[in-house]
Structure formats: C-alpha cells, structure tokens
C-alpha cells in the first residue's frame, strides 16, 4: 500500500488522498489506525521496536 494509492487518511479514517496535514503531524508518534484503502479501523499492535496494523480486508502493514 503506498500513500499515492490511499483513499483514506490512516490517522482519522476519513476519505482523503493521503494523510491530512494535521494527521501527518500525529503520524510521527502514532502508527496508522485506519486502513488507507477502505477506512476500516485496524487492529494495531505496538511493541518496543515495531508495530503491526491489520485490516480485516486488506491485510497487514508493519513498521
């Protein structure tokens, strides 16, 4: 999933081609919470050195 393809903001879940400006600031200290493809709220697990976010339809992204 690339930002260019995104139709939803991954921080607030609203329709947007990529992150909103405000949400982009949040994103520095917050993993994605919504799927960029469908806007579903994702299951997100944060560990000390990684994070994993899973959309029930579009699968997993990690960081």
């Amino acid at each position: 999933m690339s930002d260019l393809m995104q139709t939803f903001c991954t921080q607030c879940g609203e329709e947007s081609a990529g992150l909103h400006a405000d949400c982009a600031m949040q994103a520095v200290l917050s993993p994605p919470r919504y799927c960029g493809d469908c806007g579903r709220r994702m299951k997100v697990q944060v560990t000390p050195l990684h994070w994993v976010a899973v959309c029930s339809v579009h699968g997993e992204i990690t960081g």
């Binding site: 921080q11 607030c12 879940g13 949040q26 520095v28 200290l29 917050s30 993993p31 919470r33 919504y34 709220r41 994702m42 299951k43 997100v44 697990q45 944060v46 560990t47 000390p48 050195l49 990684h50 994070w51």
Partner: protein, 337 residues
C-alpha cells in the same frame, strides 16, 4: 520558608537539605520549584542532577514496555486511548506469547534490563493471569531480563501469585494528585489504587508508581502529587507528560510547555532524591531531542526505550546514543530473585 526568601536562598536551602542530607523537599517547597521563573530553571536542573548523581549514581535504567492486552478497558481515565468508553481509534487486541517473547528479546538487545508487560484492564481476570503465567515462563526460558507487570488493581491472591512468579516490580500509577483524581477518573478511586500499591509492597515486589502531568491540574496539585508519591516512597516513579489522544476527554488539552516539563522533572527529583525517576510517555512531544537531554541532566535516571503502548517513541538507538554522549552508563542486569 519565609515569604521573603529569594530564589537563590531557596535553592541554597534546597541544596543543603536534599543534596547533602538526602531529604526530599516538602509540598510547599516543591511548589516553589514549580513556580520558579524561567531564568532559574538551569540552576534548579543542575541541582536536581547533582542530587541524582549523589543519591542514585550515574547509571541509567533502560526499560521496554509492551501491551499484552490493548484497548477495550472498562475504566474511564480521561487521558487514555485504551478506554472502551471513548470514541478512540484504538481497537482491542491481544499480543500472542511468541510475539511477546520476540519483543522481550528485541528489548534486551537494546541494553534494557527491564521489560514491563501491561494490560488495559481494571484488574486481571483468570484468563489474563493465565497468560501472564505463560508469558513469564516463556520469556524466562529465552531472555535475560527483569520482568515487571502493570495489570491494574490486584486482589491479595493475585499479588501473591505475581510475586511467586518472580515479577520483581509492579507498576500501578496514582496518575495525579488525590485532590484532582475525580477530574481524571470516575470508575475507581485514588484510594483503590493506593490499596493495590500496599498489596504490591506487602508481597515484596518493588513498587513502581507515577503518573501524568499536564492533565489540567494546578501547580499546587502537581506539588501535592509529588508529596503523595514521596509518602508512598516507590522504587520507581515513571513521569509521563500528557500526549492528548484523539477521542479522549483530554484530547484537546494543550501540550505542556518544555520549560514547565523541565521544572516538573527537577521538582520531582528534589521531592524524591533516591527514587528511579523514569522518562515515560509524552516527552518527545513536550521536550523534543534537546529537552530530552536537558531532562537527563536534570534529575532523570531511567528511560522507556522505543515505543509506548499505543504510540511511538524516539528510535531506541537515538536514546542509547544520547546516553553514550552524556557519558551515562546503562544499568546492568541484576536478577532479583
């Protein structure tokens, strides 16, 4: 204290009391630190650093924290994105044991000696206790690290069980001053939290208890909180700065000013000269890189490395690099049995 005491005289008195005798400041004097003008901040930070070096030494305790059960908590702590009572984007999820062991391994590789397993619950139920038992066994089999837990309010039996499993430290934050608590949490009381801390102590586990500043409490209440922590006398105090989370009742509160955060660090060190004072969540936002260094030179002697429970921290390497630069050795492992 007389009202005519100048800041210079006040700091000299604080130095004689806290640095020379190891006796923490009382509530009125903590308030005085919190009210110091900006021009006195470097001096009070230097004093707090001297106090830390004198009574705790140069080593820094590094810890990683991990969420075993995220979100869906029935409690209503107004700062918390894991409460099930607010429209927060955080979904409920459990971490499996292999992932937990992996996280412990990665944490240990950073040099950390502490690994704290956290669950977003009012208190543990049978399923959670069972998972903790399995997690402790699995981590101990593969990783050299001290295991701590933060699982909410405990029954006496649960406290004993955790102690029997070798949990060496238990975190349960009082969060804020007793007089402000009902503005922050309504689903349980400050005194209920205190009772769990008493049980933890009674079972021989180290008490880890801190909170969050910047919740809208007054400076008087912040001083009250420091004094209440000093009365508890915990082994560790994690100091968080509010990171306002979307969807929570405190989501629109302002981020604390860097100078206020630094004054708070110094004040807490001067109230608690001998405790492990840990930089916890929100410091990236409040203090940035430069402020993090100033905090390390202003009384802090422990850090949470890497990410937090639901938010991200500075890269672990940045913090470890900072400690190297500051010539502060990382505390090494002494397994407490």
């Amino acid at each position: 204290m007389t009202t005519t005491e100048s800041p210079a005289d006040f700091l000299a008195r604080a130095r004689a009391q806290v640095l020379d005798q190891g006796v923490g400041l009382n509530q009125d004097d903590v308030l005085r630190v919190l009210q110091l003008d900006d021009e006195w901040v470097p001096e009070v930070l230097a004093l707090a650093h001297d106090v830390r070096m004198q009574w705790c030494g140069p080593t820094v305790e590094v810890e990683g924290i991990v969420s075993l059960k995220t979100g869906g908590c029935p409690e209503d702590c107004h700062f918390c994105s894991q409460s099930g009572q607010f429209q927060s984007p955080v979904r409920a999820v459990w971490l499996d044991i292999p992932s937990l062991v992996e996280a412990a391994k990665e944490t240990a590789l950073t040099g950390a000696t502490e690994f704290c397993i956290v669950a977003a619950v009012r208190g543990p139920d049978e399923r959670l206790m069972e998972q903790i038992g399995k997690a402790v066994e699995a981590i101990n089999a593969e990783v050299e690290i001290n295991i701590a837990c933060s699982l909410g309010m405990l029954t006496p039996e649960q406290a004993r069980q955790l102690s029997d499993w070798g949990i060496h430290r238990y975190n349960h934050n009082l969060e804020t001053a007793r007089s402000y608590f009902t503005n922050v949490v309504t689903t349980h009381t400050w005194d209920e939290r205190w009772e769990t801390l008493r049980l933890v102590h009674a079972e021989g586990m180290e008490v880890c208890c801190g909170g969050i500043v910047g919740l809208g409490e007054s400076l008087e209440q912040r001083a009250e909180f420091a004094a209440q922590l000093a009365e508890l006398n915990p082994a560790e105090v994690p100091l968080n700065f509010l990171n306002p989370r979307p969807g929570t009742p405190f989501g629109d509160l302002p981020v604390m000013e860097g100078k206020d955060a630094l004054r708070t660090i110094a004040a807490f060190r001067l109230a608690l000269p001998k405790t492990i004072l840990r930089f916890a969540g929100g410091r990236e936002l409040t203090l940035g890189d430069l402020g993090a260094q100033q905090g390390m030179l202003g009384g802090i002697n422990a850090v949470i490395v890497g990410n937090y429970l639901t938010t991200l921290g500075r890269p672990a390497a940045a913090d470890i690099g900072m400690l190297l630069e500051l010539n502060m050795p990382i505390k090494s492992l002494t397994k407490t049995l």
